[in-house]
């Protein structure tokens, strides 16, 4: 069974239809790259997956369970949204680290707050719970090669390092599906490389990911599936080979020729 299924997702802003029925599915451990020109709806799609926007119609299923259904208001209660959104993680184009906290605190803040709210043993076991969270954060920082920066503040890091920290922060909450919204658009080519390396590494350890990207080489190398969006619909979908070597639609051909 597919880990992620999106069915007929629609979204309008006022009179503008941004998503006109998006359907796709993704197996566990797969990487989906979403490409397309600006205004094609790819970022909106990602934001709908992460509940930053509420789609007007359609369904989102994770491991067969609906996490979003425009026709089922019970799923849209704030409590359910808060629970279901944890299925997804999101890495932003502009990192959005918290400037007043150290790298380590950026990773642990949400996890600690969540433990405080939800863990029944919190009162009796606070020290151990916090220590566990710190250790998990440290392990993640080791993995992205930034353990020595744990006490630095975000402004003391390069853009690439900040984005790696942002990825680690999203991983702290162990999402089933990690989403990236043009993660390298704010970075120069050198820094882009180090971020893409982290994403590759995540793929090799089995993370399921959805990446909105302008890096065609990256989409070609890493993605298992590529979706080309244009005007709010999936214009063409397929394996990287099909999309890049053998594009069928005229729009995709023209898009690729500009790259």
């Amino acid at each position: 069974m597919a880990l992620l299924e999106v069915k007929e997702l629609t979204k309008s802003f006022g009179p503008t239809k941004v998503l006109k029925g998006i359907t796709f599915s993704l197996q566990k451990g797969e990487v989906l790259a979403i490409i397309g020109s600006s205004g094609s709806g790819k970022t909106t799609l990602l934001r709908c997956l992460n509940f930053l926007e509420t789609a007007d119609g359609g369904q989102i299923l994770v491991a067969g369970q609906p996490v979003f259904d425009a026709a089922d208001p019970a799923l849209l209660s704030p409590k359910n949204i808060r629970k279901n959104r944890m299925t997804f993680g999101l890495v932003f184009q502009n990192f959005q680290l918290f400037p007043q906290y150290t790298v380590l605190e950026n990773l642990t803040l949400a996890a600690k707050l969540s433990a405080k709210m939800n863990d029944p043993d919190f009162k009796t076991n606070k020290k151990k719970i916090y220590a566990d969270i710190d250790n998990r954060a440290l392990a993640l920082l080791e993995r992205i090669g930034l353990a020595e920066k744990m006490d630095n503040h975000p402004c003391q890091l390069s853009g690439g390092q900040q984005q790696r920290v942002a990825i680690a922060r999203a991983l702290m909450l162990t999402p089933d599906i990690l989403c990236f919204d043009e993660p390298t658009s704010a970075l120069d080519p050198e820094l882009t490389k180090e971020v893409l390396k982290v994403i590759r590494d995540l793929k090799s350890s089995g993370n399921t990911m959805v990446v909105v990207t302008h890096e065609m080489d990256f989409a070609r190398d890493v993605a298992d599936q590529v979706i080309f969006m244009a005007g709010g619909i999936i214009e063409e979908a397929g394996t990287p080979q099909e999309i890049f070597q053998n594009p069928k639609s005229a729009l995709l051909k023209s898009f690729l020729s500009h790259e």
């Binding site: 930053l52 959104r85 932003f92 502009n94 959005q96 007043q100 949400a110 909450l173």
Partner: protein
């Protein structure tokens, strides 16, 4: 020249007695200063919240009020608060029972009211700017990390707002130090009033200029405090 340098008026004894009198007046100045801050900061926060409300009538009413207060002189507002009740409604502040005919206290409270309202409006605009300058992405980052709105505000947003408003607040507060002198026009016996009384009764003019030293010293202190706060907050982020 005679008034400035007359031997009778420049002795050490005169200096210490004038200093003591001015210090007494400065006590009132400080009281007005601190009470204004104490009330104007929370009220300003309330005003800022109202002027950001989704409910439009209240929002625009608040913004209009802030516009009027910021668009008219504090001096005028002081006079309206202190004298208008007596002139227009035959209900002068001094006749209000709560003051038990205590004239100085009545005038002080009137002046305090005008200062609080005036400064609350300025603070409200500073707070609103500070809140609206936080990138939307910071809220969204909290949201996707599963934080509640309360957690988001107190753990992530608030400190960034404070960081945003330290510099403009420092400006406003230093202005307040000097604005307190306006209370003299409605008979509040603060330092400037005291100095003019010395001139009127003892014909000594230099205390008027001497008041400047008190203001300078105090603004230096305020500036220093805000500087320290700003330094502490900006140690880690730009």
């Amino acid at each position: 020249m005679n008034l400035l340098l007359n031997a009778d008026n420049t002795g050490w004894e005169t200096f210490t007695s004038v200093t003591a009198k001015l210090a007494g007046g400065f006590g009132t100045t400080l009281l007005l200063f601190f009470l204004t801050l104490l009330f104007a900061i929370p009220i300003g926060l309330l005003f800022a919240c109202i002027s950001r409300m989704r409910f439009k009538p209240l929002r625009y009413l608040m913004r209009a009020f802030i516009y009027v207060i910021r668009g008219t002189p504090l001096l005028l507002q002081l006079m309206i608060v202190v004298y208008l009740p007596g002139i227009a409604f035959d209900a002068p502040l001094t006749k209000w029972d709560i003051f038990h005919q205590n004239v100085p206290l009545a005038y002080f409270c009137g002046a305090l009211f005008a200062f609080v309202v005036n400064y609350a409006c300025y603070f409200a605009e500073i707070f609103r700017g500070g809140i609206e300058n936080i990138p939307k992405g910071q809220y969204e980052a909290c949201e996707v990390l599963g934080m509640t709105r309360t957690q988001t505000f107190f753990r992530v947003i608030l400190l960034q707002v404070i960081r945003n408003i330290v510099a403009p607040m420092s400006n406003e507060v230093v202005t307040l130090v000097k604005d307190t002198a306006l209370a003299r026009t409605v008979s509040v016996v603060e330092i400037f009033f005291t100095a003019s009384e010395i001139l009127r009764l003892q014909f000594i003019i230099w205390p008027l200029f001497y008041t400047g030293a008190f203001y300078l010293l105090f603004s230096a202190l305020v500036t220093l405090l805000f500087g320290l706060l700003e330094k502490k907050l900006s140690r880690y982020w730009k």
